[in-house]
């Protein structure tokens, strides 16, 4: 792990990369870590769900372990470590649960003892500083590991309440797989960092992660921008938030998924960037943007 730059109780940085849900996509995870370093991340954190969806779940865990990436536990990680009967993803639709169960059974079967030991060591949540902002890192929400926080169903007043209850200026989460950022004013923010394991239901094969920079830091000023579809940094109120698309060799991943007899519906998502399953939980706005 890269050394903190401050002597506070929480490690502090000017610029961090936050990676959500790897979902066993070891090819994209490796590409995302390289991209985060190339962009000058002072630290890289993983926000949970190492396995699920993709092939050979041990491989993504090995990458996280080898690179010493600190992280928080996702519901998938917790379920695998405990050997739960299902992933605890929080789906309500039978079709969604059918696919979730296929994915979970495969992941549970293929996760070895070393990977389980790594997952068991993931923290429930972590606290860091970015500039002068106190940032809480969690998986679903600060209060529940499998709470879905979508952009169109997470209002400002609710975010403010969570920040008050958890004594933070900012919280960063994942779990939904779609990245977004909302600034509340007064230096308070919520950032869903998206997922590096699965496309964002936007018709693009790339996956996404988030860079958080202290507003006015050299990192924020030098952040590359203007790439195809890349979102410019937002939220200069004490914090700059930038979502980074990661191109990777998705055809290799799709081939591995086929070799492992994973569902064709999952492979289609990797190839097209459109979600084909687990759609019932999407709110109206997010669902309208997808193909299915």
């Amino acid at each position: 792990m890269i050394a903190p730059v401050r002597e506070d109780s929480e490690p502090g940085f000017d610029r961090v990369a936050l990676l959500g849900g790897a979902y066993a996509n070891h090819v994209a995870l490796r590409a995302a870590l390289a991209e985060a370093r190339a962009r000058g991340a002072g630290a890289i954190y993983f926000l949970g769900d190492a396995g699920g969806f993709g092939p050979h779940p041990d491989r993504a865990v090995e990458i996280l372990a080898e690179e010493g990436i600190p992280g928080v536990a996702g519901n998938y990680d917790i379920a695998v470590v405990r050997g739960d009967p299902d992933c605890g993803c929080g789906y309500t639709d039978p079709r969604d649960n059918h696919y979730a169960q296929m994915s979970y059974d495969y992941t549970l079967r293929k996760t070895g003892p070393a990977a389980r030991a790594y997952l068991a060591d993931l923290a429930p949540s972590l606290r860091i500083r970015v500039g002068d902002r106190r940032v809480l890192l969690c998986h679903g929400s600060p209060r529940r590991v499998n709470e879905f926080l979508w952009e169109s169903t997470t209002p400002r007043a609710f975010v403010a309440r969570l920040l008050d209850e958890h004594d933070a200026d900012v919280f960063a989460c994942t779990h939904t797989g779609i990245h977004w950022h909302r600034a509340l004013g007064g230096g308070r923010h919520v950032v869903n960092v998206g997922a590096v394991g699965r496309p964002a239901n936007d018709g693009r094969a790339e996956v996404w992660f988030a860079m958080l920079s202290a507003a006015g830091s050299s990192g924020a000023a030098n952040a590359p921008s203007g790439a195809d579809g890349e979102r410019p940094p937002t939220g200069s109120d004490g914090l700059s938030v930038e979502f980074v698309p990661v191109a990777y060799d998705y055809k290799t991943l799709a081939r591995e998924m086929a070799e492992e007899s994973l569902p064709p519906e999952f492979i289609e998502t990797i190839l097209t960037g459109w979600w084909t399953t687990c759609l019932e939980i999407l709110p109206a706005k997010e669902r309208a943007r997808g193909r299915y």
């Binding site: 039978p94 169109s152 169903t153 209002p155 019932e280 109206a284």
Partner: protein, 303 residues
């Protein structure tokens, strides 16, 4: 249209010998607003609050009282809102109410769909487009065929609901469907399959079907049966049971007459918890058979 009179619901009593379980209050995540009161253009024979054109147990809510509640809810950090009735689209201020909600957060509207004309659907679409939050709509239907549906919901209900659904689809919505299992022999798979086909045939490609077990109070107690004395939540049943599975641990409903524990029990004085939301954020005794249904089947109006 004939239907049960307003007073047809039966107050529930707890057997004297049985201890009553209670649910802790965890967090106010969802605020329901009974904007249609108990007034409805239908008088469904399974309605647990016996709504009808003549049931004024709860009157419709005005924009002013809704905004006051929204202001309080926002101070409390509510996550999402639900709108119900009665029939919300009977409320003449429904669009202003939805606009006020969508300025603060996401909303789910429960409706029979019958009053959604193309013009109203277009107005809803404008509200949805102008908000950063989601407007979700769920239409109630009870059978995928006209005769069986209308036997429960009233003559013409099926055709008008399908018309409303098509109008919503035409305006860009993908409404969900709420189905009450009025025939115990019907399986979840049969319901999902038959309603999925109905939705697809009417332009809803991304179907969402939510199945409810009937709450055996109100009109439903007369249509089928009420609760047996042992159909109650006991303290033992709450041991090890995650309270967040009961919607009363995370939501409340405001009507024109105050704030109630949940949308199911608004006809019971015992379930009125206060005049303001803040007064109601406490534990609640699970005294009703309806609580047993929620406990057993995991019913939640929200998701």
């Amino acid at each position: 249209m004939t239907g049960p009179p307003a007073a047809r619901w039966t107050p529930m009593t707890t057997p004297a010998a049985a201890a009553t379980a209670s649910v802790p209050f965890l967090s106010l995540d969802t605020l329901w607003l009974q904007v249609g009161g108990t007034v409805c253009n239908l008088a469904c024979t399974h309605c647990f609050i016996s709504c009808s054109p003549t049931n004024h147990t709860h009157e419709m809510m005005g924009l002013g009282e809704v905004v006051a509640l929204l202001d309080e809810a926002e101070r409390l950090g509510v996550r999402d809102y639900g709108v119900t009735g009665g029939e919300p689209f009977l409320n003449r201020e429904i669009f202003e109410i939805l606009d006020a909600i969508l300025a603060r957060g996401p909303v789910l509207v429960l409706t029979n769909g019958m009053l959604v004309t193309p013009a109203k659907a277009a107005r809803l679409a404008r509200l949805a487009d102008e908000s950063e939050y989601s407007l979700d709509i769920r239409i109630s239907l009870d059978a995928p065929e006209e005769a069986a549906n209308d036997a429960i919901r009233g003559r013409g209900a099926f055709r008008k609901a399908i018309e409303g659904m098509r109008n919503l689809v035409g305006a860009g919505f993908q409404p969900g469907i709420a189905v009450t299992r009025v025939d115990e022999a019907t399986t979840n798979e049969e319901i999902l399959e038959s309603f999925g086909a109905l939705l697809r045939a009417n332009g809803v490609a991304r179907s969402r079907v939510k199945i409810f077990e009937p709450w055996r109070i109100g009109a439903e107690a007369a249509r089928a049966r009420g609760y047996a004395p042992d159909e109650r939540v006991t303290p033992e049943m709450m041991e090890g049971f995650p309270p967040e599975r009961l919607q009363c641990s995370t939501s409340r409903i405001a009507t024109a007459r105050g704030v109630w524990v949940c949308p199911i029990l608004v006809n019971e004085d015992r379930a009125r918890m206060g005049s303001t939301i803040a007064e109601t954020l406490t534990s609640f005794p699970l005294y009703s058979g309806a609580c047993w249904t929620c406990h057993r089947f995991g019913a939640s109006c929200r998701v």
